[in-house]
Structures are given as C-alpha cells and as structure tokens.
C-alpha cells in the first residue's frame, strides 16, 4: 500500500512537471469518453421518452405494422423486420376493414405518413409531417381538441387539423380556425388545433404529434397518386375484451388476407416499446462503438507520451534501479502514471459528456437518461485503456539495463 501511494505521488509529480503535454494527452481521452458518455446518456434519455409515450398512449392500444415480428416461445417479440419500415407498406385498406370487423375492436384508425412542405404565407414549418387518418384517429391515438374540431366523416377533403406546436409556428396562435395553409402546395383549411400532446418526441410512431398536420386519408392518398400506404393501424380494444386475444385474431385474419404471407406485426403497447428499445439499443450501440474508436486514439496518445517519457527518463530509471528499485516497482510506477492520465480523462470526460448530453437533449425537449452502466463503462474503459496502452512503455522502462540507463545522456 505505501508503495502504491508513493507511486501515485511520483506519477503526479512527473505529470505536473510536464503539464502541457499531460493536459493534451488527457484531452485525447476526454474527447473519447465524452462522446461515448454523451451517446449513451442521450439514447437512455430517448428510451425514457419512448416509455413515457407508450404510457400516454394507453394500455388497450394495439398497433398493426408492416414487417414480420418473430416471437419467442414465451410470446415475446425477439426480432422485427426493420427493413419493412422503409419499403411500401404491406397493410392494405382491405386489411383496415378486416381489422374494423374483428370482434373486440372498438375502433381502428389508419395512419398514412406523407412527407412534404407545410406553408402558411411565407412561413414554412420545420420538422413537420402530414398524416392521413380517419375520424377515428383522435380517439385511437388519444388526441384532444383544443379549438375547432377533429376530422369527421362530413369534413371536406381539403381540411386539416394541426398539432399545437405546428399551429403556433405557422399561425402564431393555437386557436386560429379557418386559416388557409398549403400542404405540398395544395390549399387546406384549418378546422381544428390539437391540445398539447404529452411528451413531445413520439419516436415509437416515428412522428411528433404536436408537429403534425392531420388530413383525411383520401386527401393523403391524393398526395401519393391515389394509392394508400398505411404505416400503421392504431386499434383500440373494446372494454371487456383481452387485448392479446384480439391481437391474435387480427393477426390471423390479416395473414389469411395476405395468402398466409407473414408480413405484418400486431403489437401490444409494451411491444412497441420493446421494438423501439431494440432499435435504439442497436443504434446507440453502433454509435458508441464508433465513439469508442476515439478513446482508442486517446489511448494511442497515452502510449506515445509514455514512450517519450520513458526515453527521457532513462537516467532516472537507472538511478532508481541502482538504489534498489525492482523491475516490478519501475513497471508499476510507469503503469500508474499512464493510468492516472487515462482515468483523469475518464472522469472529466464523463462529466463533460453528461453536460454535452444535457445541452443537446434540452435542445430537443427531453432529458438525458442516467443508468449506472454509463459511468461504469466510461471510467472502466478509460482504466482499461490506460492499462493496455501503458503496459508496453512500462515494460520497456522496467527492462532497461541499469548500467546503460545510468550512462544515458540527453
């Protein structure tokens, strides 16, 4: 123990003696750890948002999506065909009627996403989407009207209901009904504005309801050469029916519609989270792996500086050996020095990473998430990097011949 302490002291002394290059070396580690921490904290934050969103959507919501979901023996979704989300949807309008006629289904609302510009006079809305749905959309998604009305069977094809944030941005007010706006260049009349919808970023359904313009499904189809492309059907189950049973029935019927091709997924609310969670886990895993490369680069910096330091201090090593330092003592001295650098970088990087994540997250209106694995990973990785990249220089130092080392002149 006293040896570890004195080694730490020696390390700090030497690092202090070469302040600038120590700081630069630590900076390399800081950048790496910062990026990994920020990515992990942000993805945890997004996951929290998704979970909250699913809670808001309610417990009796079933969503039918294109793409096959593989279930394990316990009925849990183990894999989902994400590619299906990029292809044209396999859900047809015939499937929609099938769903609506299934026993236990209270309502079923189609959701058709259309990308395109939303304008009012010269104002162009940013980050907004057009969503085609039916009069059931409001209830199925749990939307409340603030002003005017939602789409119903009698409203015209050129009417639109705006999400609150979108209305505020375009019209400057969340109660201006009767205004005319342009969707993909076509004139639409605003007949209603929605209440603020819970958490802002609805990643589970890929759009932010507060920034969405809801139009009739046939209006949305007219933007797509009259062809429907349903990304999702949101289904509410009647009271007294088991959502799992209803979901199974829907699945069976649609697969029958599709000539036994299993190309859709019928998901319960918690399953939509699981799928989004999985997608995010993959994404954040990939991004943090890329960020981890920068930690490796930082580690190379540590190794580089340690090699320089070992050469510079050849004479010191000789003196230490001559007064009785064993090879292991020299080894641990240099190893500890490398690890002090990388661990310092790790701790600072963790703090900076969280600060950065906080800044970025608040920009999009959510908070970074905290899980214990994040600091463990950040600091653990920096320790391991110090150990790995400090090892070779330290071994080199320990193996120096004392006579040669004592003779060394700079």
């Amino acid at each position: 123990m006293p040896r570890l302490f004195s080694n730490l002291k020696i390390a700090l002394n030497n690092l202090r003696a070469t302040r600038v290059r120590t700081a630069l070396t630590i900076l390399g580690i800081i950048i790496g750890v910062t990026s990994v921490t920020a990515v992990l904290a942000l993805s945890e934050g997004v996951k929290n948002v998704i979970r909250n969103q699913a809670q808001l959507l309610g417990d009796n919501l079933i969503s039918v999506r294109p793409g096959r979901a593989t279930r394990g023996p316990d009925g849990k979704v183990v894999a989902y065909d994400y590619l299906a989300a990029f292809g044209s949807s396999t859900i047809t309008e015939r499937d929609l009627t099938t769903i609506q006629s299934t026993e236990g289904v209270k309502i079923a609302a189609p959701l058709m996403l259309v990308t395109g510009s939303i304008k009012h006079n010269d104002t162009k809305a940013a980050n907004s989407t057009i969503m085609g749905t039916t009069d059931d959309g409001a209830e199925a998604l749990g939307l409340n009207i603030k002003a005017g009305q939602f789409l119903d069977k009698k409203t015209n094809a050129d009417t639109v209901v705006l999400g609150r944030d979108l209305a505020l941005e375009l019209l400057g007010s969340d109660t201006s009904i009767g205004q005319q706006i342009l969707l993909r260049g076509k004139t639409f009349t605003v007949i209603g504005v929605l209440d603020y919808f819970g958490s802002s970023a609805t990643i589970s359904t890929v759009f932010d309801m507060n920034r969405t313009a809801f139009v009739q499904l046939h209006a949305a189809k007219s933007f797509n050469q009259g062809i429907s492309n349903l990304q999702q059907v949101a289904v509410r189950v009647k009271g007294g029916f088991n959502a799992d049973t209803v979901a199974a029935n829907i699945e069976q019927k649609i697969i029958a519609n599709h000539d036994s091709e299993e190309d859709i997924a019928v998901l319960r609310p918690h399953e939509t989270i699981e799928i989004s969670d999985k997608l995010f886990q993959m994404l954040s895993g990939a991004i943090s792996a890329i960020a981890a490369i920068s930690i490796l680069v930082g580690g190379v910096g540590v190794m580089n500086i340690m090699l320089v330091s070992v050469t510079e201090r050849t004479r010191e090593i000789g003196i230490r050996k001559a007064v009785g330092a064993t090879n292991r003592q020299i080894l641990s001295q240099f190893l500890i020095e490398a690890m002090v650098m990388s661990a310092t970088g790790g701790v600072i990087g963790l703090c900076v990473g969280y600060a950065a994540a906080y800044g970025m997250a608040t920009l999009y209106g959510f908070l970074p998430g905290f899980e214990w694995y994040i600091p463990t990973v950040a600091i653990g990785v920096s320790f391991v990097v110090g150990l790995l990249f400090g090892a070779w220089p330290a071994i080199k130092a320990a193996r120096k011949d004392p006579i040669e080392a004592l003779r060394y002149f700079q």
């Binding site: 006293p2 001559a322 007064v323």
Partner: protein, 292 residues
C-alpha cells in the same frame, strides 16, 4: 570475521568473436569488513566494470562473487535489486540524484523502495542529512545546490539504508579541490564509524584517504597494498568540521557557498602537513601514470 566481499577468478568479456574485449581478467579479491579500499588504475583498466559487478548492476562472465558470504550468481533480478537496496550504497561521479525530486526525498529513495512508510523514511533521511550539515537544504531541489553539496546528498542517500558496503565511483571526479577534500573527509569519517567503502579513483590525492590501494591494469590486479590506518587522517577533533558546518549553516541559511567558506575558515589547518605530503608521494609512486 566474515569478509564483506569475496571474488574468485572474476572475468568480464564484452563483445563476441574477434571483437571480444576483456574488461576483467581473472580477478580474485577479498575485502574485509571495515576496510576503505581505493581502486586505482588508468582508463579502461576495468575499475568501473568491477564496481558495476560488485554493485550487482552487472554480472560477470566467469568467476564467483560472494557478498557477505552468499553467492550472488544465481539470484533473480528481483533479489539482486533487493540486495542493492538493503546492502549496497552507491555514490557516483555525477551524483545521480533525481532532478525532479527534492533533496530529502532523494535521500529517502532506498527506504521508499523498501516499503518504509513515507513519514519514517523522511525522518530517517532528515536525520542523516543533519549529520552532513544539510538539514537546512532538505526541501531544496538538486539544481539549487553546489556540486559538493550534491555529492554529500548522494552520500547521505547511500548511507540511509545502513548498507554493509558503500561503493563510490570517482566520488570527487566532478568536484573542485576544496569540495573534494570535504567529500573525502566525509567518506573517511564514515569509514571510521566502521563502514566498508570501496572507491574507484584516478586521483592519488584522493586515494590517500583509503587504507588499502588496489592498482588495476588491463583488467588485472597489478598491486594490492595496505597503508597504515590507525592514525586519523586529520589531526582535528573528530566532529569539529561538522560542528563548524552547522554553526555556519545556522548563521547563513541562504548561501551554500558562504557556508562552505565559513567551514573552511573554521577548520584548523591540518597540523601534520609534512606527514601527509610524504604519504602523497608514496601514493604517486604507486600510480603508474603519475599525477595528472
């Protein structure tokens, strides 16, 4: 009594094949406890190689080396390092202090590697620095000290672990005459306290302090003679020098050189100048290359 060092048929070869150089050629020596041995000889005569082997920094090609009765031939690097730490104190021509570490921590270094607690190590270092009149300089950095002071710090470091053997490789080689004398007085004093010292030197003025002089030529022992030791080398009460030093240090803390000057003044002139000169002459005769 157990000799501190026994070496038998020690050889050291460098290089291979036609390029082989013989640094040490079949050297056999015994050094008893309490001896002050000066190893002399021209450059390339193998003095430093012998010192490195004695100091366990190097291994002989042939021959045997017993340190305090134990063979060191089959020791692991780790054991050799521990022997260096606990049984051998080394003093070098260029002092070899750690430049980034202050005086007291430099002195405590062997204790640090022994695993002694920091506090007790520093206490021991402080105590020994005091006997060298350097207690006011404990927290100076090496670059703030004069050459003579640096060498005294190095001697303090060599002594702090109470080694059985002190090896000094040209301890006065980088010092002026005045500082050399002070250093040699210190070594002589350490010797009088019962320490075994082996010293390599070119300088006959320095060699006179030893009680045994070994001449080396071409890696072999050319002569090995004892000089009378009983008589103290300086007819000055033993501690006058240090006392003077301490008083001086108290009076002027800031200037290392002033201290030394005052010490110089405080020192009574050696009364038996004639006797010393005679011994110097004898030493000169033994040195083949004569005085520099």
């Amino acid at each position: 009594m157990q000799p501190v060092i026994e070496i038998f048929g020690l050889s050291k070869l460098f290089g291979v094949g036609d390029a082989t150089t013989v640094a040490l050629d079949n050297v056999t020596l015994t050094i008893e406890k309490g001896e002050f041995v000066a190893i002399m000889g021209p450059s390339g005569s193998g003095k430093t190689t012998l010192m490195n082997i004695l100091g366990l920094l190097d291994t002989p090609t042939h021959g045997e080396y017993f340190l305090e009765g134990k063979s060191v031939a089959d020791l692991s690097q780790r054991r050799r390092a521990k022997l260096r730490r606990d049984h051998i104190g080394m003093i070098f021509q260029n002092f070899n202090l750690l430049s980034r570490v202050n005086v007291i921590e430099n002195v405590a270094l062997p204790l640090t590697y022994r695993g002694t607690l920091n506090v007790s190590g520093l206490t021991a270092a402080s105590k020994i620095l005091k006997t060298f009149g350097l207690n006011e300089r404990e927290y100076y950095m090496p670059y703030q000290l004069s050459g003579g002071q640096l060498q005294r710090v190095a001697i303090a470091r060599a002594l702090v672990a109470k080694p059985a053997l002190i090896l000094a490789d040209e301890p006065t080689g980088n010092l002026d005459t005045k500082s050399s004398e002070i250093i040699m007085e210190e070594l002589a004093d350490i010797h009088r306290q019962g320490n075994t010292i082996i010293m390599v030197t070119h300088n006959p003025d320095v060699a006179i302090y030893a009680d045994r002089i070994i001449q080396m030529v071409d890696g072999q022992v050319a002569s090995d003679s004892k000089q009378p030791t009983a008589e103290p080398k300086q007819k000055v009460p033993l501690n006058t020098f240090r006392k003077a030093m301490r008083t001086a240090a108290k009076a002027s803390i800031d200037f290392a050189d002033a201290t030394e000057a005052m010490v110089e003044e405080a020192l009574p002139k050696p009364p038996k100048r004639g006797a010393r000169k005679a011994r110097k002459k004898a030493a000169n005769k033994r040195t083949k290359r004569g005085r520099r």
